[in-house]
C-alpha cells in the first residue's frame, strides 16, 4: 500500500480520522481496489462508521497486489499523526501513507513547510474485515441538509445529552432530547426544535416515524461535514432500525450507522414465537421500556469490498436473532405490571430471547460466507450482543 495525499485533502483525511475516533478506539484500515476504507465500530457495536476514499482522492494510490491486506490499529496513535489539526492546512504539504510489510508498520510521513519531515511508524494488528450491512436506499425517510442546519440544531442540546429523538411528518422534522423514563420527571427538561421541510435540500417522508439515537456520533460526523462543507443525508425507517447518516462527494463517502431505540411491540412479536398478544403500545412510544434488537450482520468475508455484500434479508435477521444470547441487563428497570408479567413469561417461554432492554442493542453478527455466495447464507456466526451505548464512553 502506497498512498499520497496532498494539499487540502490532508485535512479532510485528518478530520475523517478525528470523527471516527468519536465512534471507537480502533481504526480498521482496508485498502481496496476501488477505495481506501477507514472504519470504526464502538465497543457495544451500536455505532459503526466508514469512510471510503476513492483513488482520485489521492495523488497516488497503489494497493498491495496479491492477497488483500487489512489491519486495525489504535485510533489514538493515528490521531497523534494529525494532532495539530488547526495548523495542518498551513503546515502540511503532503502526506504519504506506506505499508512496510516486513516490519509490520504503517508509515505516515508528513512533508511539512520548511522541509520538516514527520515520520510516524505505527504498529498494527491484522484484522478481519469490518463491514456493517445496511441498505440506506430502501429507507422510507430520506433527508438531506447542509451541515450548518444540523450544527445549529445540535448546538441547543447540552454536551452531556446522550440521545436525541427525531420525529417527522410530511412537512416537518422535530428534534428533541430523549428523556429517560426513570429520570425524575420534575427535573427533566425537554428541548424540542422544529425544522420546516424547506430548510432541507431534500425532504422525503415515507413513514411518520420517530427514532432515538446517540448524539455523540452525530456530533462526530458534523465536525467532519462542517469542515468539508458537505451536505449530510439522513436515512431511517422505523424505531429499532438503524439510522444512516452519510456525506458523499465525488471522491469520498462517509456513512455513520447508528442503532436506534426500538419500541415497537409488533416488531418484537415477529421475532418471538409467542402466541401471547402484545400489550397495547403506551401513549408515548419513546417512554416505552419494551425494546428489541435490530440486527446488523457484520460480514467478515474473505473477499473484500462492501459492494459485494448485500443488505441482510429479513429471514437472516430473524434466524440469527433467535440465537442471540441473553445479555446482562445493565440497568434496573421499572416496569408496569403488565410488562413485568410479560417478562416473567419471557423467562419461562423464551430463554433464548434477550431480555427487555432499556436502550438499543444493536446486534452485529459476524458471518463468514463462502466468497461465492455471500449475502444470503451465513455459515458461521459469532454473535456479539451489544449492550447499551452508554457503556461506551
Amino acid at each position: 500500500m502506497d498512498c499520497v495525499v496532498t494539499g487540502g485533502n490532508v485535512k479532510v483525511l485528518a478530520k475523517a480520522i478525528h470523527s471516527l475516533s468519536r465512534i471507537g478506539d480502533e481504526l480498521y484500515v482496508e485498502p481496496q481496489e476501488d477505495a481506501l476504507a477507514l472504519r470504526s465500530v464502538n465497543s457495544s457495536r451500536s455505532a459503526y462508521a466508514c469512510f471510503l476514499f476513492a483513488p482520485l482522492f489521492f495523488s497516488r494510490y497503489t494497493i498491495p497486489s496479491g492477497h488483500a491486506f487489512r489491519c486495525k490499529m489504535a485510533i489514538k496513535s493515528v490521531q497523534a499523526v494529525f494532532r495539530s489539526l488547526a495548523s495542518l492546512e498551513k503546515t502540511v504539504e503532503k502526506c504519504h501513507i506506506e505499508l512496510d510489510k516486513q516490519k509490520s508498520r504503517l508509515t505516515f510521513t508528513l512533508h511539512c513547510k520548511h522541509g520538516l519531515l514527520k515520520t510516524h511508524n505505527l504498529s498494527f494488528q491484522d484484522s478481519e474485515s469490518l463491514q456493517a450491512v445496511f441498505d440506506k436506499d430502501s429507507c422510507a425517510n430520506v433527508f438531506r441538509a447542509q451541515p450548518r442546519l444540523l450544527v445549529d440544531t445540535v448546538v441547543h442540546f447540552p454536551p452531556s445529552l446522550e440521545e436525541v429523538t427525531v420525529a417527522v411528518s410530511d412537512e416537518r422534522m422535530w428534534v428533541r432530547n430523549h428523556v429517560d423514563e426513570e429520570a425524575e420527571q420534575s427535573k427533566a427538561m425537554l428541548t424540542e426544535l422544529c425544522l420546516a421541510s424547506d430548510e432541507f435540500d431534500h425532504f422525503a417522508v415515507g413513514a411518520h416515524n420517530s427514532v432515538t439515537f446517540c448524539l455523540k456520533e452525530l456530533r462526530g460526523l458534523l465536525v467532519f461535514a462542517e469542515s468539508t462543507g458537505l451536505p449530510i443525508s439522513m436515512y431511517f425507517d422505523e424505531p429499532g432500525s438503524p439510522v444512516v447518516l452519510s456525506v458523499t462527494d465525488s471522491v469520498l463517502e462517509g456513512d455513520f450507522v447508528l442503532a436506534t431505540l426500538s419500541d415497537d411491540p409488533n416488531h418484537r412479536k415477529n421475532n418471538s414465537r409467542r402466541a401471547h398478544t402484545p400489550p397495547p403500545p403506551p401513549p408515548d412510544d419513546f417512554m416505552n421500556d419494551d425494546i428489541d434488537a435490530y440486527l446488523i450482520a457484520m460480514d467478515t468475508s474473505i473477499a473484500p469490498g462492501p459492494s459485494a455484500t448485500g443488505p441482510p434479508t429479513p429471514s437472516l435477521a430473524r434466524s440469527t436473532f433467535s440465537k442471540q444470547p441473553a445479555a446482562a441487563n445493565h440497568k434496573t428497570r421499572i416496569h408496569s405490571e403488565e410488562e413485568e408479567e410479560e417478562e416473567e413469561e419471557d423467562e419461562k417461554a423464551d430463554l433464548d430471547r434477550p431480555p427487555n432492554k432499556k436502550f438499543c442493542s444493536l446486534f452485529f453478527g459476524s458471518v463468514l460466507p463462502p466468497s461465492s455466495q455471500m449475502s444470503t447464507q451465513p455459515v458461521t456466526s459469532q454473535e456479539v450482543l451489544a449492550s447499551d451505548s452508554e457503556d461506551d464512553t
Partner: protein, 329 residues
C-alpha cells in the same frame, strides 16, 4: 499592618475605607490562589497603602542594609522567565554585578539556568561580588503574581526585590494601582550548582533553529516514549528528533538547508537519548523563546539555549543542560 502617609485628613479617611475593602479582597485572593504561602517559607505578607509612590518610601537607613536590591517596572519580565525553569521548588539565586542567574536542578541530570542581565532591571545594586541564596521558586512565583498577573496592557506590577544578606529573608515589595504587598520569603543555604563541564571547545554538533519550528514537534511529542532521541549529523538525517512509544515510533527530520535552521555546524554523527521526563520542562522555555541553540559535546551532553524576548523587547537567556541516558543500545 497598614500604613497611611502623606495626605490631608479627608484623603486619609477616604483611603482608609478603601483599605479595608481591598485588604479583605486581597486576603481572599491570598487564601485561594496562593496555598504555598501558607508554608513556613514565607514570613509576612502585608499590604501598604499610600497616596505617594510607595516603592520610594523606604527610608535611607533601610536601603543601606541591603546587600542586593533590584527593581523592575514590570514584574512579569522576571516571572515569565522564571516560569521557563520551574520544574522543581528549589532555585539557587546568584547575583553578580552583571545580573541575576537562577538555577534549578533535577535528579543531578538536568540543570536549567535563567540569566537576567543587570540592565533589564531599572535598579540593580549589589554590595558584594557575589550574593547567593536559595528560595522556593513556586512561592516566589506566587508572590510575583499576587495581583493576579494581569496581562492587560498598561497594567503591570512593579517589583522591588531586596536581600539583607545571609540568614535574612528575601523581601519583595510589589505594587499595582497604588496597592503595595510586602512578601518576605525565607531563604535557604545556597547549594552549589552542578558543574556540567560543558565547554564550547568540546562541542561536536551545534544547530540553531527558530523556536517556531520546534514548538509543534515538542507539543505533540509522544509521551508514552521514555526517551527523546536526538540525532545530529553532517549527513542525512542532519537533525532528527525521535520517540519510541507504545504505538510505534516517530521521527521529526529537519534538513540543514531549511529556512528554519539559522546555523548548522555538525562535525560528527551523534545519536543520544535523553529522558523524556527530564526534557519535557524545557517545552516551557521553548514556548517563550524565539531562537534555540541545540548543542551536544563529545560526551553526548546536551545543551539547549533559548533566546527569550520579554514584553519590552529585551533579551534574556534560558539554558538547559541534560545528561544522556546511559542505556543506549
Amino acid at each position: 499592618m497598614l500604613e497611611c502617609q502623606n495626605g490631608n485628613q479627608a484623603v486619609v479617611e477616604e483611603t482608609s475605607l478603601l483599605m479595608i475593602f481591598v485588604t479583605f479582597n486581597l486576603s481572599i485572593i491570598a487564601l485561594f490562589a496562593l496555598p504555598s504561602l501558607c508554608q513556613p517559607n514565607i514570613l509576612v505578607t502585608c499590604l501598604h497603602f499610600s497616596a505617594t509612590m510607595p516603592l520610594s518610601t523606604q527610608s535611607q537607613a533601610d536601603e543601606e542594609q541591603y546587600v542586593f536590591v533590584a527593581s523592575l517596572d514590570n514584574a512579569r519580565n522576571l516571572s515569565n522567565i522564571l516560569k521557563a525553569i520551574t520544574f522543581k521548588d528549589h532555585a539557587i539565586f546568584s547575583a553578580t554585578p552583571n545580573g541575576l542567574k537562577v538555577t534549578v536542578e533535577d535528579s543531578k541530570c538536568l540543570q536549567a539556568n535563567a540569566f537576567i542581565q543587570a540592565d533589564i532591571f531599572q535598579e540593580f545594586t549589589i554590595r558584594e561580588d557575589l550574593v547567593g541564596f536559595q528560595v522556593n521558586l513556586t512561592v516566589l512565583l506566587d508572590c510575583l503574581n499576587i495581583f493576579g498577573g494581569s496581562t492587560v496592557p498598561g497594567v503591570s506590577t512593579a517589583l522591588r526585590m531586596c536581600y539583607k544578606g545571609y540568614g535574612y529573608p528575601l523581601t519583595l515589595f510589589l505594587e499595582e494601582g497604588g496597592v503595595v504587598t510586602v512578601c518576605k520569603i525565607n531563604t535557604q543555604e545556597p547549594e552549589e550548582p552542578i558543574d556540567f563541564e560543558f565547554c564550547s571547545s568540546n562541542v561536536t554538533n551545534k544547530v540553531i533553529l527558530q523556536s517556531e519550528s520546534l514548538k509543534e514537534p515538542f507539543s505533540e511529542l509522544d509521551m508514552t516514549s521514555e526517551v527523546l532521541q536526538i540525532t545530529m549529523s553532517p549527513s542525512q538525517p542532519y537533525f532528527r528528533l525521535s520517540t519510541f512509544g507504545n504505538s510505534g515510533n516517530a521521527h521529526y527530520d529537519y534538513p540543514k538547508d531549511s529556512d528554519m535552521v539559522e546555523l548548522f555546524k555538525c562535525t560528527k554523527t551523534q545519536t543520544n537519548r535523553y529522558k523524556m521526563s527530564l526534557l519535557k520542562p524545557s517545552t516551557k522555555a521553548l514556548a517563550l523563546s524565539c531562537k534555540v541553540s541545540v548543542r551536544t559535546d563529545s560526551r553526548g551532553f546536551l545543551s539547549l539555549q533559548y533566546l527569550v524576548r520579554n514584553d519590552d523587547g529585551q533579551i534574556c537567556f534560558v539554558e538547559y543542560y541534560c545528561c544522556p541516558d546511559e542505556e543506549v543500545e
